[in-house]
Symmetry: C2
Subunit: 192 residues, 2 copies
């Protein structure tokens, strides 16, 4: 084993894999979708979700305009969809039409919700803050869409029924191993 | 397939799995480690990393004091370590001693770097901002530690050699499927 300790941070792909999200927006009929690998839940109450977007992105301008966005999670079988919307600029083209992306009706916003998504969040913008070369966009989750059959009773993904599209960096995608599931109760392990 | 659309956001576990990170800190000898599932890269230049921490956490107080933190990523075989540090309060106990957690020397900070981590970032605090019931802590990555053998040439994880500990919500952990790897070049797919 070769251990490397370096100040050369580079592209720092080491923190991957991450669920590949599709960020969607609809500002007065101007719809767009982009791939987003840098995203996270950040608060339970209220339920807040953050996503990092480069300010040059057309999607970013649209989010500032309509103050809402959607976060969509797709199965591994739909990973090409993520690569497709990730590889094409959104200004002047309708990616939904170009890539035949089916959408369903949102509940509380106007954001496009992907039919292919096993889960999606509708978010209302609450903050946007520049950090380095990206903007951290924070939204309150006001509605959740999900395919009930692929989730377990407590709301966690059922890996025997659905494997999510995970991004590994450098255009690589992969997924989960259902048989690897382990319940590790933190209280039990914290007491050891 | 039952599709559910609801304003009842609940615990919103749908965005998982996520790599389970161990957040470490050392404020003048007061060392601590906690499990962190809400974290993300947020900028390339400078390289910035964010992690969401509840302000009641002992680790949060220590980070404010020393203005640095470590983000450690461990293999699936070490998932118990994550559950252990996640399930025990840090004030008044030394989790490194209690759970026999081996550390290695940091390069640019004083944060503990886990020997079990296949990769770890040393970060200098650049911002902390309250969002809802958590604080979004942002650090600049000033040094990277990693086990060279388990990464591929471009710096992505080699899933044939290492499977990361992924958190699924509700105390469930799982890992990746090496044979599922697919290269989906975004430019190719964006042009389709």
């Amino acid at each position: 084993m070769t251990r490397i300790n370096t100040e050369d941070v580079g592209e720092f792909y080491q923190h991957y894999p991450k669920v590949a999200a599709v960020l969607t927006v609809n500002a007065r009929g101007n719809k767009n979708a982009m791939a987003a690998a840098w995203h996270s839940a950040i608060s339970f109450k209220p339920p807040l979700y953050g996503v990092s977007v480069a300010p040059k992105r057309f999607t970013y301008q649209l989010i500032l305009e309509c103050k809402e966005f959607g976060i969509n999670f797709v199965p591994f079988e739909a990973a090409e969809l993520v690569a497709s919307v990730g590889g094409s600029g959104g200004s002047g083209i309708d990616k939904f039409s170009k890539f035949s992306i089916a959408v369903e009706k949102p509940l509380k916003t106007n954001v496009p919700i992907l039919k292919d998504a096993y889960a999606a969040y509708e978010c209302k913008l609450v903050d946007n803050k520049t950090y380095g070369d990206h903007v951290w966009i924070v939204g309150e989750i006001v509605a959740v869409h999900f395919t009930d059959d692929v989730f377990m009773s407590r709301g966690t993904l059922d890996l025997d029924k659905l494997n999510p599209a995970l991004y590994l960096g450098a255009e690589l995608y992969m997924t989960t191993k259902g048989e690897s599931l382990r319940l590790l109760d933190r209280e039990t392990y914290g007491r050891r």
